[in-house]
C-alpha cells in the first residue's frame, strides 16, 4: 500500500465517477482510496477473469495485472464479455487491456501475454495485493495457491462448468487453501476445450469474485473466507458451504508453519 496515488485526494472526475458507490453504507472515501492504491493479479481474462477484471476497473481499482496466453477464438465470444466480434485472432490480454483502458483510464493495466506458469508465478504474485484465480487448469491454480501462501497474499478462486459455478476466498493463516479443498485435480476436470459454457455462468462467478476482491481490499462487508459459495443458474439454487482447513494439507499446513504471517490466526477447529 505504498502507492503514492493512495495519498492524494480523489479528483473531481473520480468523485463523480464513483459517486454511487461512495454512497454505500460502510464504503466511502477511505474504501475508494484503498481500492485505488491496490493491485489485483487476474489469472486468465476469459469468461470468469475477464468479467472480474472489468468489474474491478469500473469500481476503480488502481492497477490490474492480467495474465493470459493466446488469442481470442470464435467460441470465446459467447462468454468473454470484453471481446468483440472483430477481436477474433487478437491476443486475449491485449484485447482486454484495450477495453479496460477505454472503460477507466484511472486504472493502470499491465497485460502479460502468457498464462501463469512456474517461471512467472512468483514475480506476478509479487506485484499484487490480491490474486483473482479465474484459470481453468488446476496446474495454474495450484501454482498460484502455493505462491499465495508463500507470499501471504489472499487468493479468490472462481470456477464454472455449464451452469454451475463456485467462488471462495483463501486467506493464508486464516482459512484453508485450494489444496485443502481439492487435494488432487478432480479426475473429470480434464479437457477444458470442450466444457459447456454460456455467458451468464462465468459472468456471475466473475461478479462474485470481483465483489470478494473489493471486500478484501477495502475492508467492506464480509468475504467468503472459509465458505464456498456455489450457484447453479439452471435452477438458481445457491449454497454457502463451510469449508475447513485440512490438518494434513501438504501445502498450507507446512507453509503457514514455516512463514507465519502477522495477521495469521490459528486454524478454526
Amino acid at each position: 500500500m505504498s502507492d503514492p496515488r493512495a495519498a492524494g485526494p480523489l479528483s473531481d472526475e473520480e468523485l463523480e465517477r464513483y459517486e454511487r458507490q461512495l454512497r454505500l453504507e460502510g464504503f466511502g472515501l477511505g474504501a475508494q482510496r484503498r481500492l485505488r492504491s491496490s493491485t489485483a493479479l487476474v489469472s486468465r481474462v476469459g469468461g470468469v477473469g475477464g468479467s472480474a477484471a472489468m468489474q474491478l476497473a469500473r469500481a476503480g481499482i488502481g492497477r490490474l495485472v492480467l495474465a493470459h496466453g493466446g488469442p481470442v477464438h470464435r467460441e470465446y465470444l459467447n462468454r468473454m464479455q470484453l471481446a468483440m466480434h472483430e477481436d477474433v485472432g487478437r491476443p486475449c490480454s491485449e484485447v482486454v487491456a484495450e477495453r479496460l483502458r477505454a472503460i477507466n483510464p484511472h486504472t493502470e493495466i499491465v497485460a502479460v501475454g502468457e498464462n501463469v506458469c512456474e517461471a512467472n508465478v512468483a514475480a506476478l504474485v509479487e506485484e499484487a495485493d490480491v490474486i483473482v484465480d479465474g484459470a481453468p487448469l488446476f496446474e495454474e491454480r495450484y501454482l498460484m495457491n502455493a505462491e499465495s501462501l508463500a507470499q501471504g497474499k489472499p487468493m479468490i478462486s472462481g470456477a464454472m462448468y455449464a451452469t454451475d459455478g463456485y467462488v471462495t476466498t483463501f486467506i493464508p493463516g486464516q482459512t484453508g487453501c485450494l489444496r485443502c479443498l481439492f487435494a488432487d485435480r478432480p479426475p473429470d476436470w480434464t479437457n477444458i476445450r470442450v466444457f459447456p459454457a454460456i455467458g451468464p455462468g462465468p459472468a456471475i462467478v466473475g461478479a462474485m469474485a470481483a465483489m470478494e476482491a473489493i471486500k478484501l481490499l477495502t475492508g467492506f462487508g464480509t468475504p467468503l473466507a472459509g465458505r464456498l459459495w456455489t450457484f447453479d443458474l439452471a435452477d438458481n439454487l445457491t449454497r454457502a458451504l463451510r469449508i475447513e482447513p485440512s490438518a494434513d494439507c501438504p501445502v498450507c499446513a507446512t507453509a503457514v508453519a514455516d512463514h507465519p504471517h502477522p495477521q495469521a490466526v490459528p486454524h478454526p477447529r
Binding site: 469500481a59 470464435r74 467460441e75 464479455q81 451468464p200 462474485m208 465483489m211 439454487l237
Partner: protein, 266 residues
C-alpha cells in the same frame, strides 16, 4: 455436438419456422449449444426471439450484453438521458468516450461491436404507460430493469395484457432480487407489490458494479431459460440476495385473487 445432446427430430420438425444457424454461429455458440437442455433448437429459438429491455443501465445493460453474447435475434432498449460520469461504475455498455452521448445510442454502438448480427432497436425514453404497448409489440419476453415503480408497473401491465413473460429485477446497494412473471402460472409484479414501497425512491440509489452485474446476469439467464426451455425459471420464486455477506434466499410468492392487474385473468 454429441448425438445425445441434440434435440430430437420431432422437436426440430415442430420448430421448422425458426431461423437456421450459419457455420460462424455454430462455432461461436458451440459451448452453449452443448449445454444440457439448450441445443441447436434452443440456439435457433434465441436467434428468432425479440426482447424488450427497459432501462439498459447497471442491471438492464448486463441483460442486454449477455443476451447479445448469447445470440438473441433482436433487442429493444428503452432508456432516457445521456451518459454521465456517475453511470460509468455500473453501466456496462457505456465507455468513457461516451460521456455526454445519448445513452441508448452509445449502448447500441457497443452492442453492434459485441455481436453485429443482433438487431438493436432503441427508444430514448423510459417506458411509461403511454409508450409501453408499442415498445413491447413483437417482444417475446419483457425485461423490467427499471428503478421506478411507475415504469415497473407499466411494464408489468403490458406483460399481463400481452401475455408475455416478464423478468423483473431490482436492486439497492448490495441487495437485490429477481423473479420471473408468467401469468396465470405465477403472480405478477402487482401481486407481489400491490403498492410501491414508500421508501423506494431510487433516483440516487447506491450501487457498486458487482451487485448490478450479478443480478442482471441472473435475469439474462432467466430470459434464456424462458425462451429456450432449458433449466427452471424463477416462477413463483423471488430470488433475493445481499452481497454484503453473500446471503441468498428463495422466497415463495403467490398470486392475489384480487390483484388489480392480473386478478381478472385467472
Amino acid at each position: 455436438m454429441k448425438a445425445q445432446l441434440r434435440p430430437d427430430a420431432a422437436d426440430i420438425a415442430d420448430h421448422g419456422g425458426l431461423p437456421g444457424l450459419t457455420p460462424f454461429e455454430m462455432s461461436m455458440y458451440a459451448r452453449q449449444i452443448s449445454l444440457p437442455g439448450l441445443g441447436e433448437v434452443g440456439q435457433r429459438r434465441l436467434k428468432g426471439a425479440s426482447v424488450l429491455v427497459s432501462r439498459a443501465g447497471g442491471l438492464g445493460g448486463t441483460v442486454a450484453l449477455q443476451l447479445a453474447k448469447a445470440g438473441i435475434g433482436r433487442l429493444v432498449l428503452a432508456h432516457d438521458g445521456v451518459v454521465e460520469a456517475e453511470n460509468l461504475n455500473r453501466m456496462l455498455l457505456a465507455m468513457r468516450a461516451d460521456l455526454g452521448r445519448v445513452r441508448v445510442e452509445a449502448f447500441q454502438e457497443t452492442l453492434a461491436m459485441v455481436n453485429p448480427s443482433v438487431e438493436v432497436v432503441i427508444e430514448a425514453n423510459n417506458a411509461d404507460s403511454a409508450n409501453v404497448l408499442g415498445l413491447a409489440a413483437g417482444a417475446d419476453v419483457i425485461v423490467d430493469a427499471a428503478p421506478l415503480f411507475a415504469e415497473r408497473y407499466a411494464l408489468n401491465e403490458a406483460a399481463v395484457a400481452l401475455r408475455r413473460p416478464l423478468v423483473t429485477a431490482a436492486m439497492f446497494g448490495l441487495e437485490g432480487y429477481v423473479t420471473t412473471v408468467d401469468v396465470p402460472g405465477t403472480p405478477c409484479l402487482a401481486c407481489i407489490y400491490p403498492t410501491a414501497p414508500p421508501d423506494w425512491d431510487l433516483r440516487c440509489f447506491p450501487v457498486v458494479l458487482p451487485s448490478s452485474a450479478l443480478l442482471g446476469t441472473v435475469a439474462a439467464m432467466e430470459v434464456i431459460k424462458v425462451l429456450t426451455g432449458c433449466g427452471t425459471p424463477l416462477h413463483n420464486t423471488l430470488l433475493y440476495c445481499d452481497l454484503t455477506e453473500c446471503s441468498f434466499r428463495r422466497l415463495s410468492v403467490a398470486r392475489r385473487a384480487d390483484c388489480r392487474v392480473c386478478g381478472r385473468n385467472v
